[in-house]
Subunit: 411 residues, 2 copies
């Protein structure tokens, strides 16, 4: 039997929470330290709230399944670090190799490089103000790779020649229908730019690969729609690789990615060399809604406590506002900004900076079930956004904190 | 004449930005340090982006005007720290006294206490998991004050008696129409709770004041509506203070607050003892929309650079996504998630984690005006939310960085 206050798995495999009054005051003075490491070995239900918690087993399973999926397709997995931004998460996602990752900020690049990671692809349209720091990383790592989608960016690289025979390793960004960065694969400019990267100054710059992000899978609903986008993105990327080959432009790698597409890959993705999903280590309600995963695959929660009862308006307050959850769930869910685990009958209807307002979806709230101080677990809509609000993640196994992870932030 | 790349004031008093190509590469290696202090003395236009910048003169003027406004009303200003969460911002808002502030997280309380601040009101429904840390602060500071709105919370305080004759200093939260925390002033339970705080154990607990937040001013449009809410909140609070007096319950202080109401106070607010606004040090587009201030009073911007041109869809990309701005402007503004300073004809139509998509409100974009690398300044919709995304604020005067402020985060 689970103890009062434990995070326990229900028969459906979904975690539910129980009130944790028993935990209060049991260890006076326990909340006085500012260090997060002191929580290791303690019960999750004792954590000060709001707390971002990661179920280690679920995160590990998500990471391993993606590695297996890629292995089965003969694809290299180059996981994206942007969701968790932690060394420990990167370790899990690379299967312990610490080699072959994607980052979207230079702060992440520096952080992972300092943490012993290498073969880092900074998959972001080369920001000219950060060229010098990119050069430092390119000189220092075995493989620090940048991304461009314009002649101007290539010209910047040419102007900042690397020393000691090191070449800029450059991926070209392709837009296969997502509509963010990148050249359209049908644009004649795409071949021209690839050729320029590969051939203009081969002693200074090398074409390392072609990169496409199928972020348009985020508009999908269900596996067939996800796979249709994955297929279209794969086909466009492979078509462009064929165009390069015909034109005599050597390009060793091709990569597409997004958590929905890589959670349900199509066979043709095996003809690429890499994929680069990121969110899947945590997953979230958005991914459940899209069809990338099941609710039981979501590894993260924000723990929050009840701090007020307001029967006259049929509401209670919890100690998590947008500062602990983000606003990303706004208008996306029938249960408001999040799903309150084990309580699908409750709705997180409003959030200010540090307060969340909760009321029943219908009917009158039974306040006796939610005494002041009792714990609730919010399943976030967008894990990347929620994780970004927390300076520390509490990683747990079987109701106990087993580690604390500290993400990098900034740019 | 302003130099290319300077942040300059236009005739309307609103800052506009110009392309800053001239600044690139002028100081090779300049972006290699991770420390933010190295930016002091440098030009704002050289900062790596996205960067949260604070116009020191505007922030100082905002702080001084609020102090003057309160002085004129014979009111004490107890500024809220939640927007900026920095020692330097607290220094400005308290007029250098570092006495008499409000915080909404325990992390802020610890941070400001460690920074030499005192008379700190933790104006948040007492979170039971943080009682022990509250006790530590109550023993250590001259005046660390907590807030309750329930008998349960009072019972928690009674159970954790302070040592050496120190009493819990307790504010009672009143809900005067905002509908978040607090007892309604007309609820008989409000008088009962105030009496219990004041009289139940006077050697352990003291009633320090009555506290109301008129967050409902955020639904206002224009000064008359703001003042109507300010008047109603003031009247309700004063009526409750009268009820206490009639009942023989001594209560030395009464405080209401919100940036809209305190930016346009009504005369009756002079009958209170304190007010506690917070956002006004920065202001933002939300406050401009409400009518709290003018655009020229907004002290903060997020600087961002153009990283991509996509003529086929009439859009450019900038290097600020929701990780640098928050999603708080969503659906609130005709110009999208923010206002791009000096370019009211542009719209920030979409944001992902690190990318912003910009297009004209109408017509075709003249890309030649926005070369890759050029700088734009985003005026945020909600300064509290945008500030929360940044580990450092760059404070500037006359186009130069004069200081870096580091906010506390977490709980």
């Amino acid at each position: 039997m689970p103890e009062e206050g434990d995070l326990v798995h229900s028969q459906a495999g979904v975690q539910t929470t129980r009130p944790v009054q028993a935990a209060y005051g049991a260890t006076p003075g326990s909340h006085c330290s500012r260090g997060s490491a002191m929580w290791v070995g303690r019960r999750v239900a004792e954590l000060p709230t709001p707390a971002f918690v990661v179920d280690e087993a679920v995160a590990r399973r998500n990471a391993e399944r993606m590695l297996q999926r890629c292995r089965a397709l003969g694809l290299r997995l180059r996981p994206h670090m942007k969701t968790h931004k932690t060394l420990e998460g990167g370790e899990l996602m690379t299967g312990g190799t610490r080699r072959g990752i994607v980052v979207s900020t230079l702060a992440e690049a520096r952080f992972f490089a300092a943490g012993g990671f290498d073969d880092i692809l900074y998959a972001y349209p080369l920001p000219f103000d950060k060229l010098e720091e990119c050069a430092v990383l390119a000189q220092r790592l075995e493989a620090f790779q940048v991304l461009v989608d314009s002649r101007d960016a290539l010209a910047q690289l040419r102007r900042r020649r690397l020393a000691r025979g090191v070449r800029w390793l450059v991926w070209m960004k392709l837009d296969c229908g997502n509509g963010r960065a990148g050249l359209r694969h049908t644009d004649p400019g795409a071949l021209e730019l690839a050729r320029a990267i590969a051939q203009e100054a081969p002693e200074e710059v090398a074409l390392a690969g072609v990169y496409a992000h199928c972020g348009n899978t985020y508009g999908c609903s269900g596996v067939p729609e996800i796979q249709a986008v994955a297929q279209a993105t794969t086909a466009a990327t492979l078509e462009f690789m064929g165009t390069l080959q015909e034109a005599g432009v050597t390009c060793p790698a091709s990569s597409i990615g997004s958590t929905p597409s890589c959670s349900h890959p199509v066979a043709d993705m095996g003809k690429l060399t890499e994929v680069h999903p990121g969110n899947y280590i945590f997953y979230d309600l958005q991914q459940v809604t899209i069809g990338s995963c099941q609710l039981e695959d979501v590894a993260v929660r924000v723990l929050t406590r009840v701090i007020g009862h307001y029967p006259h308006r049929n509401q209670l307050l919890v100690d998590c506002g947008w500062a602990g959850l983000s606003l990303h769930g706004l208008g996306q869910l029938p249960t408001g900004y999040a799903l309150i685990e084990g309580h699908p009958d409750l709705k997180l209807v409003g959030m200010t900076q540090e307060h969340g307002r909760v009321e029943p979806v219908v009917g009158a709230l039974d306040f006796s079930k939610f005494p002041l101080g009792s714990l609730l677990a919010l399943i976030p809509y967008h894990a990347c956004a929620t994780a970004a609000m927390h300076p520390v993640y509490y990683v747990h196994a079987e109701g106990k904190v087993v580690a604390t992870w500290k993400p990098v932030r900034g740019w």
